[in-house]
């Protein structure tokens, strides 16, 4: 009666294990190159912390792809809006930047849902190229709107007091630790929403079969709008969390666009938990790679990893080979 899932004994490591071995190798190389445990340990901590934010950001992107089949190239711009919402809240009220968290989540949720209903809905089911043009266009529109309202000068939304926190001999600013913990808490909440609530079940149903979802009476258009809103809210929250230690400019989101995309592909398109784990890996690879291949942009090692994945494992490092 039980379905037998035959496992073959294989000496080839799973793609996930292979990736972790790669991270370990990078750690060793970084240690040898720098000759310093404290530098390498610092990279480990910084990478893990940055990765938590990538995870949250990429989960939103992956959710949007999984449910709506849209590759959203404006995702980084929504993060930028989160930065500016935080700046505006701090600037106007003088409050602690974390007061902006619920504001950023609500603003980005509403904005995303409305954009989906009014603009992107028309592109549903259209070719990848036209989606690419529309979301890239949207991204330019957002950057320019931010430029128009806030100007191009770098802004900040720092904590008044941002002490260093010592963790296993390495140091991270309090704001970064909060970003890490906060991002993971929100990521977990998103997971619970999707897996444990009936609304989340409906979202998964639309992802699995949109016609079937319509046939059981789910309002598929409403689910599309809410899901897109949830995805952009993830970007907004990620933007808020990094605002205290980030230079706020209208194009500050662009590099995150690429990073989130790498994380999503690595985790498997539409695989939310895959994005969560992959975000941490990408953060580690970025920082350890920065030490191992000193003198280059830390992004170099991320792109090498991305290329490897595209070549060897385009379906991502989790789960089985899919069509």
């Amino acid at each position: 009666m039980a379905v037998s899932t035959r496992r073959q004994l294989s000496l080839r490591p799973s793609p996930f294990v292979a990736t972790m071995l790669l991270v370990l190798a990078l750690f060793v190389v970084a240690l040898l190159r720098s000759g310093s445990m404290s530098i390498t340990g610092q990279a480990l901590l910084t990478g893990l912390i940055a990765g938590g934010v990538y995870s949250l950001l990429a989960m939103g992107l992956s959710l949007i792809f999984g449910v709506l089949d849209i590759v959203n190239f404006a995702h980084g711009s929504f993060l930028a809006i989160g930065l500016f919402v935080t700046y505006e809240v701090v600037h106007q009220t003088g409050a602690n930047p974390y007061v902006a968290l619920p504001v950023a989540i609500v603003v980005l949720f509403v904005l995303g849902a409305l954009l989906q209903l009014l603009v992107l809905n028309r592109t549903m089911g259209s070719s990848l190229e036209s989606q690419l043009l529309i979301t890239l266009g949207l991204s330019l529109l957002i950057s320019n709107a931010l430029l128009l309202f806030f100007g191009g000068d770098p802004l900040s939304a720092n904590l008044h007091n941002d002490p260093g926190v010592h963790i296993f001999g390495a140091v991270a600013n309090l704001s970064r630790v909060i970003a890490f913990v906060g991002a993971l808490v929100l990521a977990l909440l998103l997971y619970v929403l999707l897996e444990k609530t009936s609304f989340g079940r409906a979202i998964r149903a639309v992802a699995a079969n949109r016609q079937g979802a319509g046939l059981v009476g789910i309002d598929v258009r409403m689910i599309y709008a809410v899901t897109f809103g949830l995805g952009t809210a993830c970007a907004g929250a990620a933007g808020m969390f990094i605002a205290p230690f980030t230079t706020i400019t209208p194009t500050a989101g662009d590099q995150f666009n690429i990073l989130a995309f790498v994380v999503v592909v690595m985790g498997g398109l539409g695989n939310i938990m895959g994005a969560l784990v992959s975000g941490l890996i990408v953060g580690l690879v970025e920082q350890l790679g920065g030490v191992a291949i000193a003198g280059q942009s830390p992004l170099l090692s991320v792109f090498i990893l991305f290329l490897l994945i595209l070549l060897i494992r385009p379906q991502g490092i989790f789960g089985a080979k899919s069509s």
């Binding site: 009666m1 379905v3 009936s198 079940r201 409906a202 998964r204 149903a205 699995a208 079969n209 016609q211 079937g212 979802a213 319509g214 046939l215 059981v216 009476g217 789910i218 309002d219 598929v220």
Partner: protein, 233 residues
């Protein structure tokens, strides 16, 4: 209770249905038979709001429902089991069933689940299994069970016997009769004309998007033209 009046419909500019009129009364099992490509599935898509119309009206309990979207029709009790079954493949049997009751109060769900498990015991046995790992016949039962979770007043079945063994086909058609006997109107689309006509109160024969014959199921089963064209006799 369900009436299609002079329906014209199709895909893009291509018209498939022409002046199509059919109706289903309360508690009736009505079948629509016809060759592959005759427009049977297109007819059900029109009723379910999955495609629009180019002309004509769909009425339900006196209300014009043409142009309503799929989810609004489910709320009114018009539920379809599509040709492709459209199950939520990676989700469990139980999740599929629970989603079937999306338009209903939460409190009603457990009671309804028990009823479905009584009708299709195999679903109880497999409740924790992913829908996509079940056999064709089990998937068909799940699709019907999921539709019943919505407590339909009109249940539409599009070729439920596709891909099933003759024995399974009878099981499914018997289930359709039982559902009718429980007071639900059933609109059954089948290429297996002989079996469908045998259990139908009334039937329509569709050809190139129009009704060419209609009458009580047994009468049509004995009709020379039907015998020749669809029953291979």
């Amino acid at each position: 209770m369900l009436e299609l009046d002079n329906i014209a419909a199709g895909y893009g500019k291509l018209q498939i249905l022409h002046e199509l009129s059919i109706h289903v009364r309360p508690g009736e099992l009505v079948s629509v038979v016809g060759a592959n490509g005759a427009g049977k599935t297109t007819t059900l898509r029109v009723i379910s709001g999955l495609i629009g119309t180019m002309g004509g009206q769909v009425r339900y309990d006196g209300e014009v429902i043409t142009g309503l979207r799929a989810h609004q029709l489910v709320k009114r009790g018009i539920v379809q089991v599509s040709e492709d079954r459209d199950l939520f493949g990676p989700m469990t049997v139980e999740e599929n069933l629970v989603l079937g009751a999306w338009t209903r109060r939460k409190a009603a769900i457990n009671e309804e689940l028990e009823r479905i498990f009584e009708l299709f015991p195999i679903l109880l046995e497999r409740r924790r299994q992913a829908a996509q790992t079940m056999s064709g016949g089990q998937q068909q039962m799940l699709a019907i069970g999921r539709a019943l979770m919505a407590k339909p007043k009109v249940l539409m079945l599009d070729e439920p016997s596709t891909g099933l063994s003759p024995k399974m086909t009878w099981d499914v058609l018997n289930a359709a009769s039982a559902i009718r006997d429980s007071g639900v109107s059933v609109l059954l689309v089948e290429q297996n004309a002989a079996q469908a006509l045998a259990i139908s109160d009334r039937a329509y024969v569709l050809e190139s998007g129009s009704v060419v014959l209609e009458g009580p199921g047994r009468e049509l089963a004995g009709d020379e033209r039907v015998k020749k064209a669809y029953l291979g006799l």
